[in-house]
Symmetry: C2
Subunit: 397 residues, 2 copies
């Protein structure tokens, strides 16, 4: 292992993972802290992650998969807590589009998350209580810096590829911008280089719904034995609408009634779409921390790659050698093709190596999680080509 | 006056309006109750309304303006409570598009509303307490039936026109369908003949936000001295996003910061769009009743003109003599042109007299409330033509 030990705890790490259900867990920032964008330094903090496939001897076959707002490290196989399939099980596995017979896939729970990596529900060693709103506000860049420490720990100098959908795509873009020498290929999917006013607006509604819940207790609910489940459920419901296209909602539910023959003239879930949304809200609160939701949505709202580069997105990628594959979906109104095309134009203007595919799908933003054959074909084609190129590059070196 | 007295209180009516600020107020359903779609009968109930201009001797110059979800009877001039301009002051007044020098404009607060007409915040005479959730669930059709009683009271047998935007347009459509002989022209604007799954979904989020507020008290907040203002504010915020196009939000706010030079790395309203939304929420709760919001959104979700006519929208207008002008806006994603075109196709299939205009505007659904010259031109053109036709028809009769 060539990991720079200064950033990881010498021993023990994985062996003492507090919760075996969380997969691998390592403590990072042990000998040198991680400086966050907000100015706070964090040190000796946990990062939970999962891996799939085998890292080759040269450590050149690693793909970093970055998860979205409510995702986690369990990309494929059976989720140890929910018992359901991982969120990208369709995509990642032996013989699948991201083929774990060839690639070593790593997915860390993001900084600010709530499944083992440092986040607002973890214990603040100074107070010995959950951080709550005392947790520093983090950014997409901070998440990526944290992931880079994890790669150091794993001794991976350069990723073959970094990919992810939605907020995962933001991380992929940030990786390519921040660590261009550590990434051969970047594949941001259904993503954007910044949050628009409408994106921020929807997130703000979710945050206000959480904060409106008296059980949020100013963020201190874990210390007070409360849980703002109602507010968090409303936040999830509002967000969930943005993940589906109008057409998908129409096809799935239309105006069909839920287990009844006629309208009840009341406020029960008469319509299937109401019942579905309520279910989305109720089940979400069992697996997610309300403060994490606040912090992660904030990180997404703050994301604006261009802003950090004098307002010019192209500057974020000047002179890059990274190969890009940008993928959008026609039915995605959360991060529409137009936003993805902005990234492509920026990359073109710095003569980057970029492929762009707009996949025809009326399923909405969530299409990146679904069985969309054209999408998988595009991604597999790009990965195969890039792998060949990477091998050639490595052979020459 | 030829009003069928059986439906109105003989005396007194307007003179004893409980609150002079509410404009005119009449008690309807006095001698014969009004049967609602849910099966409940209501009688001797208040309807608050406002009028503009003068009713002519023949009572042939009346235009019924129907307000939207959060509107009220104060269409034009200064609102007696808020002190602001009425919601359609740009449209209605002397010499304006709906010219009160020519037309007699009537706008009642809708059934279920909260500004003087019977709704869940009014006193239930049986319990002598506010109705709350004991109030019957009402429909758009019920609102229209109630308005018909008001016209009876005013002695107006036939409207020259009925119009309104959004939910006001639904009422205009329902008028044309339910009382085709009482309407010469119908002008539904930025509206739809049914609520889609996405429409219902957004409303359900709002309702759940209200119901999640502990101060909602199962709908009994008025009796318990509480008010679910936080939940209602969240509902308003979520809905407000749907009233504006993404482009409008971008133009108005983009990612601009609110009274600060840099991000604060906190949960204050860093962005202008957050501050704006919070303001929309906070100011709304001062003027609106949370239960009314539940009942009216429910009425909109239940609205499906086709469903009541064997699933075929055209059947709602079979043999109609009403002249229609359907107006949509390109930037309206709440009730998009496609939904309005469905209405046009249905009307065409029964050989109805229908004009259709899709007005170019990137302002979103709220364009119907704004100074959109093309929209005003279309509406004025239609009204002028229809008025001429109506006079000819009357002359022949």
């Amino acid at each position: 292992m060539t990991a720079p030990k200064s950033h990881t705890k010498d021993q023990p790490d994985e062996a003492t993972a507090a919760n075996a259900l969380l997969g691998h867990c390592v403590r990072l920032g042990v000998k040198a802290p991680l400086s966050l964008d907000c100015g706070v330094e964090i040190s000796d903090f946990p990062v939970a992650y999962q891996t799939y496939g085998e890292l080759n001897a040269d450590k050149t076959n690693a793909i970093l998969v970055c998860h979205a707002l409510t995702g986690d490290q369990f990309v494929a196989g059976k989720h140890p807590i929910s018992g359901k399939e991982g969120w990208w099980d369709l995509m990642v596995g032996p013989g699948k589009t991201i083929d774990t017979n060839k690639y070593f896939v790593i997915c860390p729970n993001i900084l600010g998350g709530c499944l083992g990596t440092l986040g607002p529900k973890e214990i603040n060693p100074e107070t010995e209580k959950p951080w709550g709103l005392g947790f520093p506000v983090i950014t997409i860049t901070d998440m990526v810096r944290c992931q880079a420490l994890l790669l150091d720990h794993l001794g991976i100098k350069k990723l073959f590829a970094v990919t992810g959908g939605s907020m995962g795509g933001m991380q992929a873009l940030e990786w390519a911008s921040l660590f261009p020498k550590r990434v051969f290929a970047a594949i941001p999917i259904a993503s954007a280089a910044h949050h628009t006013a409408q994106n921020i607006a929807f997130h703000e509604v979710g945050r206000q719904a959480i904060m409106a819940d008296l059980e949020w207790c100013g963020g201190d609910y874990l210390n007070q034995g409360k849980n703002p489940t109602k507010g968090l459920a409303v936040a999830r419901m509002a967000a969930h609408i943005t993940y589906l296209s109008e057409q998908a909602l129409h096809r799935k539910f239309g105006r069909r009634l839920q287990d009844r023959e006629a309208l009840t003239y009341g406020f029960d879930a008469d319509f299937q779409v109401e019942s579905y949304l309520r279910h989305q809200g109720i089940t979400f609160v069992d697996r997610f921390d309300a403060n994490s939701y606040l912090y992660i949505t904030r990180a997404m709202d703050y994301f604006d790659l261009a802003e950090r580069h004098g307002g010019i997105l192209a500057n974020a990628f000047k002179g890059t050698d990274v190969r890009f594959c940008i993928i959008s979906f026609t039915g995605d109104w959360l991060y529409p093709t137009e936003e993805n095309r902005r990234i492509v134009h920026a990359l073109n203007s710095v003569a980057a190596n970029v492929s762009f595919a707009e996949v025809e799908s009326d399923k909405g933003h969530d299409a990146f999680l679904l069985d969309e054959p054209e999408f998988h074909k595009v991604l597999k084609g790009f990965l195969d080509g890039a792998a060949k190129n990477y091998e050639e590059t490595l052979g020459k070196a």
